[in-house]
Amino acid sequence: MMMALDLTLYIAKASTVLAILFCSMRLLRGPTAQDRVLALDTLWICCMLLALLLGMRFGSNVYFELAMLIALTGFISTIALAKFLMRGELIE
């Protein structure tokens, strides 16, 4: 039972890293600026999931706070970038 849980955690971590790779390919390639902002938003969420999975692997509560911080900063950065795309400046 323990081995099955470990194996599943390995699979989950590998697929999250794969998702991070896909997002960064879109971030580097994206034809327009809004594609890059969307890819960055998804990249934040995938990194939050990776932090959660590491916390489950090591059984520690510190990673939960890390995931919470990543979610907060990701939201603020996405809103700021979208506002910048719309107006061309942040503080008017």
């Binding site: 955690l9 794969l18 998702a19 896909f22 890819a39 999931l49 959660l52 939201f75 809103i79 795309l85």
Partner: protein, 110 residues
């Protein structure tokens, strides 16, 4: 506090199921972001990652930590609530910016 080795099977099996579903949906959403042809179709891919993928992995984490600490642990609900509240707002801001930029570019061309 119990270790992960002596968790009961009725707790480990739902954790494994939720982890598999969550990781599969995360990869599918990111693949949609990479492969779909234009921006308005591409914005549908990450919605799967943010809602279903993140939700399943958060439920799995909640179950596993409840088993490890032998008491109900619900503080992952904070992240779930926050992500589910803010993801539509972020998507709406990006979409609105994209629509404005498309209109501006069309005006500049004509």
């Amino acid at each position: 506090m119990t270790t992960a080795a002596d968790l009961p099977a009725w707790l480990v099996i739902p954790v494994i199921l939720f982890l598999l579903i969550g990781s599969l949906l995360t990869v599918v959403g990111a693949l949609g972001l990479l492969r779909l042809p234009n921006f308005m179709q591409r914005i549908h891919g990450p919605a799967i990652t943010i809602t279903l993928g993140a939700g399943s992995i958060l439920i799995a984490s909640m179950l596993l930590f409840s088993g490890l600490e032998s008491r109900p642990v619900v503080h992952e609900l904070l992240i779930t609530l926050f992500v589910f509240m803010t993801a539509p707002m972020a998507a709406m801001m990006i979409m609105r910016a994209a629509v404005y930029r498309n209109i501006r570019n069309r005006k500049k061309e004509s």
